[in-house]
Symmetry: C2
């Protein structure tokens, strides 16, 4: 890849494409993509376009789960394959905006007055999108509502969020988001939130909203208790592609962001990424470049480096969108392929001071995606040195790093957007949704299921069942202590000694059991007296 300046300029002219309708440009010039590879991918790419057309038309694009894949309809409901789907999308969007308006105007209030804070209880697809968008568009301290999360089943994490909310729980709206309505972390968060309201002398239902599938456990709970509102989720929207459903739009609208512009950006990008042409389709460009760089098997990690603080959480959002979509054991024909692309990164130039050392000098096991934002800030910049603003430096560091990596044959893609606003956040979300879908077709996998996540949940359930058995045994034999081996023997669970030890160790650390000192795996545990 040791190219002359002239050759690099040639490549730039060829592989730099502007898409003005979306305020977007893509630059693939600093990758190994070439004519031969494009020719090789021409036919697979046409198949990917055809599959995408079918998906948008309502095909069972997620065959394992026998589901349609409809996130593209969310920003253009006229595309929905059935009138009732179109109506549901339109009604939900209208209800979202109307509810946010009522909250802002004070027509709907908490028990202590106008809602000023927003607690989102959700995990994965029900948190990463809202977190990314809040960070990208928010001005903490100046937004309509300040945002807090329960995005895990960590009790201390919840306590920390409650401390930050402070005495304002009676003016805090809690939105519980779970598509299935059965996610344990979210359910636990809801129960802890209920307790917090109760302890503050407040009722939970007049502060609570659900976003969930119709008829789910959460939906029934909310209906029975008389929560403020329930917003629907549908089985044709996956969690990781739900930002343009109520999952993402409700928190965004409540914070005061312009969700119409976010949808307009996604829609503008969708129009581009429907085109059956590598040159004219920015998502196809990304998908083919990923394929070329990673040899169609994820051989290089994807490092996401937006040179913009507001996009710092984009990599986390993309970790889910890309890794959960592409990280698959089997392809569509059932062949074992162990696909995927690892994603990480935070922001430039900050990350230059963290790990550009390794990127330039160390393992060449990655490619960088730079995200460049042309507009620096709202107000006019001062000059921090004669002729230069802080934004000029930021731009200089991006170009300098791109150059320094290229000198060492490290590849990069650059995505340029005009500015970070609701429209361009919609563009970025839609761009990657489509690129992931197209890439999945190129490597012949189902991007829309997640069969690998069940095993861990099942194993966790087994651990909790074992915990019950252990607690019962110790409670029924409270006269003395037992070590893990003895408990396992008594329970006839000799294969589970290690888990029993770890369970007891954790319970003892939280005063749910007593431990006889600290003696490693020989430690004896007993029921609390």
């Amino acid at each position: 890849m040791n190219l002359s300046d002239e050759q690099l300029w040639e490549r730039f002219q060829r592989f730099y494409s502007e898409f003005p309708s979306a305020g977007l440009a893509i630059d693939l010039s600093r990758t190994q993509l070439d004519s031969d590879y494009l020719q090789k991918m021409a036919s697979p790419l046409q198949s990917a376009f055809a599959a995408m057309d079918q998906l948008e038309a309502g095909a069972m694009a997620n065959p394992d789960e026998k589901r349609m894949v409809g996130h593209y309809w969310l920003r253009n409901a006229a595309l929905a394959p059935k009138p009732e789907i179109r109506r549901e999308i339109e009604e939900t969007l209208a209800a979202t905006k109307s509810f946010a308006h009522q909250v802002h105007s004070g027509a709907i209030q908490g028990q202590r007055g106008t809602f000023q804070k927003l607690l989102v209880v959700g995990i994965g697809g029900s948190a990463l999108g809202p977190q990314f968008v809040a960070h990208a568009l928010g001005r903490p301290g100046a937004d309509r509502m300040n945002l807090y999360f329960f995005d895990n089943t960590d009790p201390d994490g919840m306590d920390k969020a409650l401390v930050a909310i402070g005495p304002d729980l009676g003016r805090t709206l809690t939105v519980v988001i779970s598509k299935s309505g059965g996610t344990k972390e979210t359910r636990n968060g809801m129960v802890e939130a209920e307790r917090a309201y109760r302890e503050a002398g407040l009722d939970f239902p007049p502060h609570a909203v659900a976003v969930t599938g119709n008829g789910s456990e959460l939906d029934k709970t909310a209906e029975k208790a008389g929560w403020l509102r329930r917003f629907p989720m549908w089985d044709w929207v996956g969690g990781r592609t739900s930002e343009t459903s109520a999952v993402g739009l409700l928190p965004a609208a409540l914070q005061g962001f312009d969700i119409d512009r976010l949808l307009a950006g996604a829609s503008a990008c969708d129009q581009l990424t429907r085109r059956h042409s590598f040159q004219e389709n920015p998502a196809a460009q990304l998908a083919v470049a990923w394929h070329a760089i990673g040899q169609g098997r994820g051989a290089k990690d994807m490092v996401i480096l937006p040179y913009k603080d507001r996009l710092e959480l984009f990599s986390r959002y993309l970790q889910q969108l890309i890794m959960e979509s592409l990280g698959k054991e089997l392809d569509l024909s059932g062949k074992k392929v162990n696909q995927g692309i690892a994603v990480y990164g935070n922001k430039g130039s900050t990350d230059q001071h963290a790990y550009i050392q390794q990127l330039r000098d160390g393992l060449n096991n990655f490619f960088v995606t730079f995200i460049q934002v042309l507009k620096d800030r709202e107000r006019k910049s001062m000059q921090v040195e004669p002729g230069f603003t802080t934004g000029d430096y930021l731009q200089g560091f991006y170009l300098g790093t791109r150059q320094a990596l290229w000198e060492k044959e490290r590849q990069s893609i650059t995505i340029t957007i005009d500015q970070v606003d609701a429209f361009h956040v919609g563009v970025l979300i839609a761009l990657y949704e489509r690129a992931v879908g197209l890439y999945a077709s190129l490597v012949n996998i189902n991007a829309y299921h997640q069969p690998g996540v069940e095993a861990g949940k099942k194993a966790a359930t087994a651990i909790l069942e074992l915990q019950s058995e252990v607690a019962k045994h110790l409670s029924e034999n409270s006269s003395r202590g037992f070590n893990a081996g003895e408990i396992a023997e008594a329970l006839k669970r000799k294969g589970s000694m290690e888990s029993i030890f770890k369970i007891c160790q954790h319970l003892a650390a939280n005063q749910q059991l007593a431990a006889d000192g600290r003696n490693g795996i020989a430690t004896r545990f007993r029921a609390n007296s």
Copy 2:
């Protein structure tokens, strides 16, 4: 690796080690480490121990930069090789605590009253440690001072922090941290902070503190302008190992964290990690396990998954510590090795909902380091279901995920700590500092320099110089517009057409130039009239 339950229990008994003096345990049982590998590494490990002894005794352990490496002295100043170093460490620590006390008591105030907020201006090693520690130990809303950062040269990011600080700038202490005193991002942040104080009708110096090398550009600026305080940094402390210097301790003390306990934790861990024995040294265990899993060449990415919200930023901290230390082109003998280990991750069980799908089913190009925290929370937990707390679920998800990965031959290490407090944060920092140092010896590289970061900075400087030339040319020829090619020709910089285009594009987006429409690389740019 298809082992029976009995074999797994055998491995657990063998590879699970508790270190009670540090409230720490390490479990390597779910890795490929075995007796043969341990035997193979026995002699290299002894060499690594010897090199570490020399480093601690004051050897030039960073030969390229001809510097000692003294971060271990910071928590046990008696180890320092010279009395003047010992004195400086002790005096700086005393000054740090005294200053924090004066700020808290109101003996030192801002122009609008007692300091309530803290703005840290720093990047890389001057931000990642303070950010990690603040997130781990802080209770936003209840800490002595609320913390904000300028950790980049993004003007909009600075504006966002200033909005969050709000009208309280006269009660905001700004700590500018730069070891070299010449880091551009930090310098720019300082200049923008100065302007913000000025615009608020305030003087900057009575709100400003510097942490920097004696005699640096920043040090001189602070001295000349009469800032509140200056705290020293030393050339024998690297940025990425500076958390136990004033860089980390000053922000921590100002927030009200117990920095003596943080140092005690680091010191307790240091005592363990000085031992010349794999069995008795937790850092040696990590280093050897990394070597075994990644075949001594970083063949697997390191995924950091603390099951604890407070440790969510540990992976970012470790990205710098590990990747900047280990990502090296040349080994100590000058041989090209392109070493490194890629690091990413956020927290469990949250990340299970993001990318465990790929970890279990997709590419097997990683190993996980689980961090388990035994203590769930400060207060007593409620039962969210009969017999189970939210913390039991968190533990269950950790064990379930570990099991689900192992079934598919994905390796993991588990680090267990008793709780997240200042002591254990010190333990974790010291543990990884030492593990990185030992691993570097095992692969024969210098862990303490960063020769690869200069290239990007130099290239950035060249970009800014080019920007000046472009601006000058357009200003001197303001009667008409020029496209990138024409500018390059006029400047006799035909090799820089691409950079010129990108510079003009950015300047035009920020009203520093005018663009004739939007026409890709053919766009003409002109000076503002």
